[in-house]
């Protein structure tokens, strides 16, 4: 009875404060647009399960499981309480928050049993919200414009790249043909030379051809070796850390008697924490203590990741060249440079083709003794053409690599290709290179791979890098980079909400979507509509 008494007092006082349009005291917690539903003598539970009478509406006893009959009380756990929040946005609360002694609605309408007095803060809160929203909208407007421009630029650049690619491909074909012709000729010359040589000397000397070829081969190998070196180096590091870890992890129990008390303490603590122990921690080689147990954890085993390691190496060289502070690599410049190179190839090619054809024609197939001048010429041409061909192929593969990526609906993410963004948080520098990788750097030497590019997620509103360095007792590291609307492209926030699962925010004009702007504008419009004429009574 007492409850009912409180309820009616509270409702009456609430009624007094409401505008005169409020229809009935039992309509507490009902949205205005829903009031008609409740204007009958018998009302249906929304889930259709049963019916209830008007007297049972908000009588503080739950009749409908879905809470239809108790929009204004806490009686039904699944009920929702509607706060009008005049001056701000209306909200819908869980019934668990009605009369729980905590003010949830800014108009205080959720607390009416007299146990707590809630101040109406809708007007202040609303104004703050509107101002904030306005600022956000202003930024979005500018951002959307920038985005449009960037999208155009990206489209243009992509089509240029594509055009370049097709030109390059055509020319790769003809270059390839030329190189082959030169090669055949070169071999004939060399064969002839060999024969001549044999005739000249009766001694058994290593022939020129072999000599030449071996030099060539070793040259090729050289370039290969440098690649191998990179991988080998990584592997070496891996196996080194593996070795260290083995000491820690596996020899631990056996060598425990040789360890100092402190070492034992650290070792045992590391079981729970996975932290490296003792000096190993200080050298900070980056690997976690158990990675060594399974050396392959860090070592890319499939072709893809091997390639990544290679790329990674290349990029660090590039970065060094770019000088440390400027991570932002202006993609356009690079492009022009490559474009220039292509044009250069084209004109050179035309010239070369003529020259070579002439050369090929002029050199008599069977003339003997050989004209040394001609032979040298052929060799030189062959060498140059080969170099040109491999340059062209390199460029083709880099363009193909770039264009094979999902660059967004309008290719808008083209502008992020080849760029890196970084931010410093505490002792770590986080570096995100879209389409490539994400790393965490601590000081100069301690680098942890947070992940390699995987894909866009959540309809291009987030980038996912996965398969990073393994975690002790946990998954491989990964990072999700959420895109937010911002006027500059910068990394603003990095967090590790779950162990080894990182979350970052990249603010960029690319995140300023027109649709979202419209939505915000709509929201502001609604907020302004809710503004009461004279809100003194609040």
């Amino acid at each position: 009875m007492k409850v009912a008494f409180f309820l009616s007092i509270a409702i009456l006082s609430l009624l007094a404060s409401w505008s005169s349009s409020s229809p009935s005291l039992s309509f507490l917690g009902i949205a205005p647009q829903d009031e008609n539903y409740f204007r009958k003598e018998t009302i249906k539970c929304r889930n259709g399960s049963r019916k209830f009478t008007k007297a049972q509406l908000n009588d503080d006893f739950c009749d409908c499981l879905d809470g239809t009959d108790e929009p204004g009380t806490s009686a039904c756990p699944e009920g929702k309480f509607y706060c009008r929040n005049v001056g701000h946005l209306p909200t819908s609360l869980y019934s668990s928050m009605v009369n729980d002694g905590i003010c949830d609605c800014c108009d205080g309408s959720d607390e009416y049993d007299g146990k707590v007095k809630c101040r109406n803060t809708c007007w202040e809160a609303g104004k703050k919200a509107r101002d904030k929203l306005q600022k956000l909208i202003d930024m979005y407007r500018e951002g959307v414009t920038i985005r449009k421009r960037e999208v155009e630029q990206a489209k243009e650049a992509i089509s240029k790249d594509k055009a370049e690619l097709s030109v390059l491909k055509a020319e790769e074909k003809s270059l390839d043909k030329l190189v082959n012709q030169l090669k055949v000729r070169k071999e004939q010359i060399e064969k002839a030379e060999g024969k001549e040589q044999l005739e000249k000397d009766n001694e058994d000397r290593p022939n020129v051809q072999e000599n030449f070829e071996s030099t060539e081969a070793s040259g090729k190998e050289d370039s290969l070796t440098s690649e191998d070196d990179v991988i080998g180096l990584v592997e070496q590091e891996e196996s080194k850390s593996e070795h260290e870890d083995t000491n820690v992890a596996e020899d631990g129990s056996e060598s425990i008697e040789d360890m100092s008390k402190e070492e034992i303490g650290r070792l045992v603590a590391s079981r729970w924490t996975g932290e490296r122990t003792g000096q190993v921690e200080e050298t900070g080689s980056g690997a976690d203590s158990n990675e060594g147990k399974d050396g392959s954890l860090n070592k890319p085993s499939d072709g893809d990741s091997e390639k990544n390691v290679y790329d990674h190496h290349q990029s660090s060289i590039t970065d060094d060249l770019d000088s440390s502070s400027v991570v932002h690599e202006p993609g356009l410049d690079k492009q022009t440079q490559f474009l220039g190179f292509t044009i250069h190839i084209q004109s050179w090619l035309r010239k070369m083709q003529d020259v070579s054809q002439n050369l090929l024609r002029s050199v008599s197939w069977f003339s003997s003794p050989l004209d040394n001048l001609d032979a040298d010429k052929i060799r030189k041409e062959y060498k140059e053409s080969t170099a040109r061909l491999s340059s062209a192929q390199e460029r083709i593969s880099s363009l193909t690599e770039k264009l094979k990526h999902d660059l967004g609906v309008d290719g808008e993410f083209y502008t992020l290709y080849g760029q890196c963004f970084e931010t410093k948080q505490d002792k770590y520098v986080y570096k995100i290179c879209p389409f490539k990788e994400a790393v965490q750097e601590e000081g100069q030497y301690h680098k942890t791979q947070l992940g390699y590019w995987e894909k866009f997620e959540e309809s291009y509103s987030a980038m996912l890098f996965s398969n990073g360095a393994g975690c002790w007792n946990g998954p491989r590291r990964s990072i999700k980079v959420k895109l937010r609307c911002g006027l500059k492209t910068e990394l603003t926030d990095v967090d590790e909400p779950s162990r080894c699962e990182y979350l970052a925010v990249l603010s960029t004009p690319l995140g300023c979507l027109d649709g979202k702007l419209k939505e915000l504008e709509g929201k502001l419009e609604m907020l302004q509509k809710e503004k009461p004429e004279g809100h003194d009574e609040l």
């Binding site: 006893f61 009686a75 905590i102 402190e262 070492e263 303490g265 045992v268 002790w472 162990r499």
Partner: protein, 933 residues
């Protein structure tokens, strides 16, 4: 399931588990811990043959109300040939005391008058002072010659139905029924009793013990005690926490036991522990309870805090011993071995299992009454990283409409693992943070561990080292071990002065950044010492009064828990009930707070193992306990997490916790469906809080567990004896976990003759039957026992704090006589006023269509508690619809009776409707009747 994992299969299980664990860097390392063969006292005791003891009781008499005797070697003439047992050099003193309620206490120690090199350690402050007052002053002893004996036996009164018999030669002590003379519990029936008296080192004798590079100097030499205890008429024995084993303890030695290792009681911080292992875990209670066919139960408790090893001997273990025991009685024999201390043993005569627990808790104290909030849901993780994290997690609970009461901070919240400090970067505003939580009625718990960082700028260390409050190493210097903070020392909490000093550190003026809504968690108090032998403290470390750590070890955590708990009482001027969770425990821990089962693992086996572990703790007095929901190590699949929440909602202590390397697993992180399932599981707990709190109060007054084995409620139903998959919450609720992935069906045995009602759908099931049920996604099987009344609150809130004024629902489950009974206990949920009678305690009785509310509070109470809360709904299960009205008296008002849902949550329960008395608005603190008309 446990029964299928018999002794012979254990090695395979171990292998299997080890292979599972091998994907993590480390797993449980068997060889890091001593087994019995590596433990000289255990090896020695275990290798002794029945009949080895040649002691007899001499000079038996009554003095100071006790039955006393001296144990001396049997005179040489009567000793059998070839016996070279080096028995005692000096007579031992024996005394038997009898206490009210069927409790016998046996003490055997060296005679202080004969100048032993050292006083043996007796564990102080475990036996409560009220117990001492219940001693019965013995004035009469009768003599009797037992069948086949030549020497007499002395018989004294124990209780109305039982008497105690001290057999003089050979020395034996047992409890028997007066009428039938059949035995109940006995000690030294196999003459395995052994007592290594302290002595001077013999020339050339080696006392040192070495294990894994650690040397134990053992300056006092061998001092172990062992003896056999037999339980007559027993079908199984239970107890001896803490082991991750089945509820009924499997034999550890004898025919059919392959992997013979006794149950070890030695508090250890075991990394990634395994189930089905007799190795010791974080706590130790040397209590064993036996149950026999007739529902008759007895118990045995050895108050001793040194390392203990206990064998449960398989039938036929002594086939070749030639000793004759009363053979008509089925019996379970056990062997108890301890490294040091004295014999201070308690025999509990039962007669039922509830009586045994009540007797045991009469000795060691009844469980503390927790604050109400502590009985709700706790959210923990190692670690909630910073204030922002805390704020976000807190907000997400509201956003998802999931109630919770307590947010926990693990070790990372401190400034470099200096407890009672805060990391200034991550937690710059601890008071503000706690106040924000408190504004929503929520509480916070921070961790405070016993290892103190050796840093002169740390105030605790500075004071403790200056005052000499640390445990000393064998050379007398402050013991220096390694733990989370690095080099650490350990407070000597055996000293009352140190405890008192330490408890003052919890004062608001001392613990900076603490507020009244902050409570405490004690971890690592085994104590865990990373570079110590078996990850603990050396046994020759020295405590207050020259006590060696070996003597005290198992009670170290107990005293630390005690100091912390007392600290919180002091902090609140004796007006605020403490809440302290501890990992280590000992007999009596129930007086200081709750316990959890330590670092479990996110797998189905650990989910299953949690039930017998918690049940065993409950039998041993620690009724407020739980396991980490979700599993501490590893990442649970959503299904496992959901099932764990569904089970955990019925644990007395309901907390989710996770290792720092695991993925975040707050309830909303696994998609909408799983969020809903977890919300529902937590809702079930909140709905049942009034019932839980009432059972907590029952436990507080009787010592009975919250979570009980089925056989505790149905001791004469043998089908319950091997069941540790299902359990009772209080006496009215039965819960069956689902312990397998993608379970289609679940079998549940419902004991007794009466019906059971599905807790959420109201469907009826017959008793004394195993039912094969469809495994539902949204809940595990739970049933209300016919003949009971369960009080609920059907409105969920952010936390239990906001539920205080919410109305109640009573669910009446009718039995075959169409009757039911239940209780409701309410107090302020916070203070100690209830001790002065400031509480509401009602008994609801339903019979002949009438519900009556009766007052159970005593008349002489000096304080009063009132409530404006009403009962908003009465549900009748098993009542055929018919009556349209109910008449309320004395108000003389008719209220409507109709059909309504059993639970107010779609998806939970079924759509079928049950008889409901609508809005009776009955004041909860008044007498009234409601009659269906």
């Amino acid at each position: 399931m446990a029964s299928r994992i018999g002794g012979c299969r254990r090695p395979f299980l171990l292998l299997f588990l080890l292979s599972l664990a091998s994907q993590t860097a480390f797993s449980w390392k068997k060889d890091e811990f001593r087994n019995c063969n590596q433990t000289p006292f255990c090896k020695r005791a275990r290798s002794r043959k029945p009949g080895a003891c040649t002691l007899i009781a001499d000079q038996v008499s009554i003095s100071d109300g006790l039955l006393t005797a001296k144990l001396i070697p049997r005179p040489i003439a009567s000793q059998e040939e070839g016996e070279e047992n080096q028995q005692i050099a000096k007579p031992l003193l024996l005394s038997v005391a009898i206490y009210q309620g069927g409790i016998l206490r046996l003490k055997i120690d060296e005679d202080p008058a004969l100048d032993p090199p050292k006083t043996r350690f007796q564990v102080p402050e475990v036996v409560v002072s009220e117990f001492d007052e219940t001693m019965l002053w013995l004035s009469r002893v009768s003599t009797e010659i037992l069948d086949g004996d030549s020497a007499p036996s002395s018989v004294v009164y124990l209780s109305d139905g039982y008497e105690a018999v001290l057999r003089h030669d050979p020395f034996e002590l047992f409890v028997r029924e007066k009428s039938s003379k059949s035995r109940l519990v006995s000690l030294n029936s196999h003459q395995l009793f052994d007592f290594e008296e302290l002595r001077v080192k013999n020339e050339g004798e080696e006392w040192e013990e070495r294990f894994k590079g650690h040397t134990d100097t053992r300056p006092y030499g061998p001092q172990s005690i062992s003896f056999d205890v037999s339980f007559y008429g027993a079908e199984f024995v239970s107890g001896l926490p803490e082991h991750a084993t089945s509820l009924a303890l499997k034999p550890t030695k004898g025919p059919g036991v392959d992997d013979s290792e006794p149950y070890r009681l030695f508090n250890l911080d075991v990394f990634e522990y395994l189930q089905e292992s007799p190795f010791g875990l974080y706590g130790s209670i040397p209590l064993m309870i036996a149950l026999g066919k007739s529902g008759k139960s007895s118990g045995f408790f050895w108050l001793n805090s040194a390392e203990m090893q206990i064998d449960v001997l398989a039938e036929g273990w002594n086939a070749d011993s030639g000793l004759s025991l009363p053979s008509d009685q089925k019996r379970i024999d056990t062997l108890w071995m301890s490294e040091a201390g004295i014999v201070d043993a308690f025999f509990f005569a039962g007669a039922g299992p509830k009586d045994v627990v009540s007797q045991y808790t009469a000795v060691t104290g009844k469980p503390a009454m927790p604050q109400h909030f502590a009985t709700a849901y706790h959210q923990c993780r190692w670690n909630y990283r910073d204030e922002e994290d805390v704020e976000n997690v807190d907000a997400k609970f509201d956003e998802h409409d999931i109630p919770y009461d307590v947010l926990w901070l693990d070790i990372e919240h401190t400034d470099g693992k200096r407890y009672m400090t805060w990391d200034s970067v991550m937690f710059p505003h601890p008071e503000e943070m706690q106040k924000k939580l408190a504004a929503k009625g929520r509480h916070m718990v921070t961790i405070v561990d016993p290892h103190i960082k050796r840093d002169d700028n740390y105030y605790i260390h500075k004071e403790a080292s200056e005052k000499g409050y640390y445990v000393k190493d064998s050379s007398g210097k402050d013991f220096d071990g390694w733990c989370w903070p690095g080099s650490s020392s350990y407070l000597d909490v055996l000293s009352p002065e140190v405890r008192s000093w330490f408890s003052d550190k919890f004062g608001f003026d001392s613990y900076k950044g603490s507020t009244p809504s902050l409570y405490i968690w004690n971890d690592m108090n085994e104590p865990s010492v990373f570079n110590g032998p078996e990850i603990s403290m050396p046994r020759d470390a020295l405590h207050f009064g020259g006590v060696e750590h070996r003597e005290l070890h198992n009670a170290y955590g107990y005293f630390y828990h005690m100091a912390t708990s007392n600290g919180l009482v002091k902090r609140g001027d004796g007006k605020d009930r403490p809440f302290v969770l501890s990992r280590a425990f000992f007999a009596g821990t129930q007086r200081f707070g709750s316990v959890w089962t330590g670092d479990n693992t996110a797998d189905w086996d650990h989910l299953r193992a949690s039930v017998p572990m918690i049940l065993t703790l409950g039998l041993s007095g620690i009724s407020f306990s739980g396991a980490d929901v979700g599993g501490f190590f590893g990442n649970p699949e959503p299904e496992l997490l959901v099932r764990w929440y569904q089970l955990g909602a019925f644990y007395p202590f309901f907390r989710a916790h996770a290792h720092q390397d695991t993925k975040r697993r707050e309830p909303w992180l696994f998609g909408e469906r799983n969020t809903k399932l977890i919300r529902q599981a937590i809702h079930v707990r909140y709905m049942l809080l009034p019932y839980f709190y009432t059972v907590f109060r029952e436990s507080n007054t009787t010592g009975l567990p919250i979570m009980r084995p089925l056989w505790m409620e149905f001791p004469s139903d043998e089908a319950t004896f091997n069941n540790d998959e299902a359990f009772m919450v209080g006496s009215s609720l039965l819960v069956q976990g689902i312990y397998t992935e993608r379970a289609k069906h679940v079998s549940v045995y419902l004991p007794g003759k009466e019906l059971w009602y599905d807790l959420l759908s109201g469907s009826q099931y017959k008793g004394s039957q195993t039912h094969k049920l469809v495994a539902l996604e949204d809940r595990i099987p739970a049933f209300q026992r016919a003949g009971t009344i369960i009080p609920r609150k059907d409105r969920y809130r952010r936390s239990s704090t906001q539920m205080v004024n919410d109305p109640y629902t009573l669910v009446i489950a009718l039995n075959s006589s169409r009757a039911a009974e239940g209780e409701l206990y309410i107090d302020d949920g916070k203070s100690f006023e209830f001790l002065q009678g400031a509480y509401i305690h009602r008994r609801f009785v339903f019979s002949n269509g009438k519900l009556t509310s009766l007052d159970l509070t005593p008349n002489n109470k000096s304080s009063k508690f009132t409530s404006q809360t009403v009962i908003e709904r009465i549900i009748l299960l098993g009542y055929s619809p018919g009556p349209k009205n109910a008449l309320i008296k004395p108000r003389n008002e008719k209220v409507e009776v109709g059909l309504g849902p059993l639970v107010l949550e779609t998806g939970l329960g079924s759509s079928s409707l049950v008889v409901t008395i609508r809005k009776p608005s009955l004041p909860v603190d008044k007498d009234w009747t409601v009659e269906l008309v």
